[in-house]
Structures are given as C-alpha cells and as structure tokens.
Symmetry: D2
Subunit: 146 residues, 4 copies
C-alpha cells in the first residue's frame, strides 16, 4: 500500500469561532490529499477531464473527527487507496496535527468515473486500473466501493 | 419525527468546474439545516455556547451523493433527528433540487456535547434532551451515536 | 436608482476565531446581492452564459469594513448599479447587521463582459444596457468602470 | 522593500464553473501571503492574539483581476508592506500563475490593530513597528493607511 503525504497550513479563513478547523473543510484537505497522491503517481486529475473526457464526481464520504486542528497549525494529510472497482475508487485519509502529532480525523472519499459528455458511468482508464492493482493489491485487489 | 426544511440558493462560489456543487459544501448545507431545525424548535445554537457554556463539535459525518446540484438552483434541505444519547445528537439530512425535484444527497452529522471551558464531554441540557425524546421518540428513543 | 435587498444567515462556517465574518466572505455576500438584484430585474446570470454565450468575470473589487458581522446574525445586503459602460458594469453594496442595524461593510464589484467561446471582451446585451440606463440614469448614465 | 513569496495549489474547491479561481478566493491567497510574510520575518499572527492580546481585523481591501488562475495551477503570491501607521498596516500583493508566468491579480489589504478585550483601536507593538520601519523605509516611512 502506497501512502502519500501532503501538507496544509491552517488559515484564519478555515477556522470557526471555537478556534477549530471547520468540519466541512476536512473535505478540502482530503481533496488536497488525493490530488497530491495522484500527482505523485504521475496522474493529474485535470488530464482525466481534458485528455480522457472523464470526470470523477464524489459519490460517498465518511469522516470521523478525533481532535481539533487549530489556527496556524500545519495539517499533515496521509492518503492511500482504500478500495476500488473498474468504475470507482475510494481514497482513505488520515489528518494529523504537525504540532501535537495527534490524529485529528480519519475518513474516506469514493469517486465514480463518468463520461464527461454523456454524463454516464464509465470505466476507469486501463493504465489507472493497473496503478490501483499495483498499489492496492495487498488490500485484496478489486474491491467494490463501500 | 419532526422534519424541518431550509433553503439555499447555489452561488457561483459554491460550484466547481463540472458545474456541480462542490462535495464539501454539502457539509455547510447540513449546518444550515440543523441550525434552522434548532431555531424552529426554539433553540439557538449560540445559546449553547454563550448561555450554557457548552459546545457541539462535529464528531462524525457521512454523505452519499446521488445527483448534482447546479448553479442558480435552489437547494431544499430536509433535517430530522436521526439518533441521540445523553451526550450526542445525530442529525439526518436530505438535500433536494427545487428545480428537478431530485434527491441530490443524503447524509448525517453527529455532534458531541463538550464543556466549553474544560473542553471535556458533557451532558446535553435536560430541556434539549426532552425535545429529542419528544421528536425522535418514534425512532426508538435514546439511540447512541453511530 | 433601484436598490435591492437580499439576506444571508451567518453560519459557523463563515466566521473566524475572532467570532467575526471572515473578510473574504463579503465577496460571496456581494455575489448574492448582485445575483438577487439581477433576478429581481428579470435577468438570470446563468442565461448570460447558457443563452447568450457571455461570461461576466470580476475585474475589480473594493471593500471597506466598518463593523463585524457575528455568528447567527442575519446579513442584509443592499445592492445597486454604481456605474457602467457598454462592456462593464459595477455593482455597489452595503451590508448591514439585522440585529444591530449597523452598517458593517460597503464595497463595489466590477464585472467585464466576455465572449465565452473566444474569451474576448464583448458588449453587454442591448436589453441589459437599457436596464442599466433606466435604473442608473440618475447617476449620470454611461459611466465607465472605475 | 522586502518581498516574500508563498505558493498555493488551486483545487477543485476553489474554482467556479468558468474554470477560474473564484474572485473572493484571492482574499484567502492574500491572507496566506501575509501570514507567510510575517512568519518569514519572525512574527506569528497568533502571537498577536495569544501573547499580546491584540487582534488585526481587516479594514479595507482592494483587488484588480487581470488574468484567470485555473484548476491545478500553482499560484505564486508576492507580498510586501505597502504602507503603515502606528495603528494600521497595509500589505500589497501580486498573484502570478506559475504555469503561464502571467500576473493574475494585484491588490492590497489593510489591517487595523485592536485591543482584543476592549475591542478598541490600539498601537501596533513597538518591535513590529520597528520591522515596518526597516522593511518599508524606502517607501517613505510612516504612511497612513489609504
């Protein structure tokens, strides 16, 4: 299993009046995590759209919050492939506070592959499926989305 | 079960380059739904903080996306109590497109009650528990969070 | 001069750790104001894109902050036409706290008309220019953007 | 004049249906720019609040948009001190596309110093004023905010 790491500095714009990162913002941290995961593996999300005519809309999310992230902290986002099928891929994420070292949230985001023009379900590109097979093979291979 | 309705007009700032409401924005729609649910039942969230010294941080979220919301559409957010305990409350939500009538997303958000000054778990106010008992009694009563 | 009013309830997601509406969020309030201004005048922004093949990207903004908006307050956004030319329109805005009645911010947003396919400057639709002439005539008519 | 640089990768969550960075998001880029400027100079914004009992709410913003930033582009944010007084500081910013090299936006953000507990105007810390004098001395020194 290939785990990749991304970082994000918590800004004033991200936090609420408790002084904590707003719970919905974790979805943006997860997006950052999966974009950087893909980039590290040689895939740019925009190529799915612009070169392959595919979109990857989110179909399911799940998140558990364990500890707060606060202003000016540096979030460390760990990302891996949690499951996949020929038409879906599910990323797993853990978000840590750089300062305290604590695990702040864990979650997953499932994306479905869609043909951009017809807006109908489509297969993931074969080369991307090969990547998933390679990096998530030790997790039992072609698992369906939850 | 008391279901309450709130509305939100989708702005340019909310959508992504697919022309769809960004998936993380549903968490803000859910917040709007539960704030209006509470207001309709005579509770303001800020009174928890300012008058009772309690906070309600989010502990878990779950969301399934079924159809997109698009620019300028009016989101209709249905909210109800999905489960609760003496220290947690879980709101259930459905988001519909006013234009198409379609169900776009369904999800839930669990909040835990915390003492603001000591930042330790606390009991929900007795009067709020009575409200939960009354409105969610037909769902089997004091259900624990997921 | 036709002044239109829109409202927005301040959510947890909008505020920062001072307990104030984040300064960048005023740009979304201004967007809400101009969208509702146009709707009230019989124009939907999306028709510019979908039916007329035009876009209206923002070219300039200016904002002065006078007092904070706080959690759960209801923002009242006043919007009017502050100036225009054949290819640009500038909206003026004032944002008030419903609770205190105070003026919290005043600002303006200038949009330029662009042909969507060629991405080149274009003229505003003649009928929209007539509207601008009618509602902003008492401001000296065809004023250029700042 | 000390110019500092920060970077931000444009995510899906940041862009609108034109495929462009939402105009209000530039205010968050400016925040990132000034936070990193201060950090590079040995000041953390949170120390103003937590150690000095001061807040720096935004009092004025101004922004001109020249070219779009698009999905997956890397924004380069240049930040410097544009003017200051004993109680205010104004940051200047330029945002460039890493990919095209184009200047996408230029703007400024003025902050006012406020005593956190009394919520009244206050003087900037003497050591911070010395920093401003040192780095912005070649700009004519103690300039008032716009």
């Amino acid at each position: 299993m290939t785990v990749r790491t991304a970082h994000y500095r918590i800004l004033y714009r991200d936090i609420d009046s408790m002084g904590y990162l707003y719970y919905g913002r974790y979805m943006a941290l997860f997006e950052l995590g999966r974009v950087e995961w893909m980039r590290d593996e040689g895939w740019r999300y925009r190529d799915f759209e612009q070169q392959l005519g595919l979109m990857l809309p989110v179909t399911r999310t799940w998140c558990r919050h364990l500890a707060p992230l606060v202003y000016d902290d540096l979030a460390r986002i760990q990302t891996w492939i949690d499951g996949w099928s020929t038409a879906t891929v599910r990323f797993g994420h853990e978000v840590y506070s750089q300062e305290s070292g604590q695990l702040c949230a864990t979650g997953s985001v499932e994306l479905g592959c869609v043909d951009r023009d017809r807006r109908r379900p489509a297969r993931l590109p074969a080369a991307f499926q090969e990547l998933l097979q390679r990096v998530a093979g030790d997790r039992g291979g072609r698992k369906r989305g939850v």
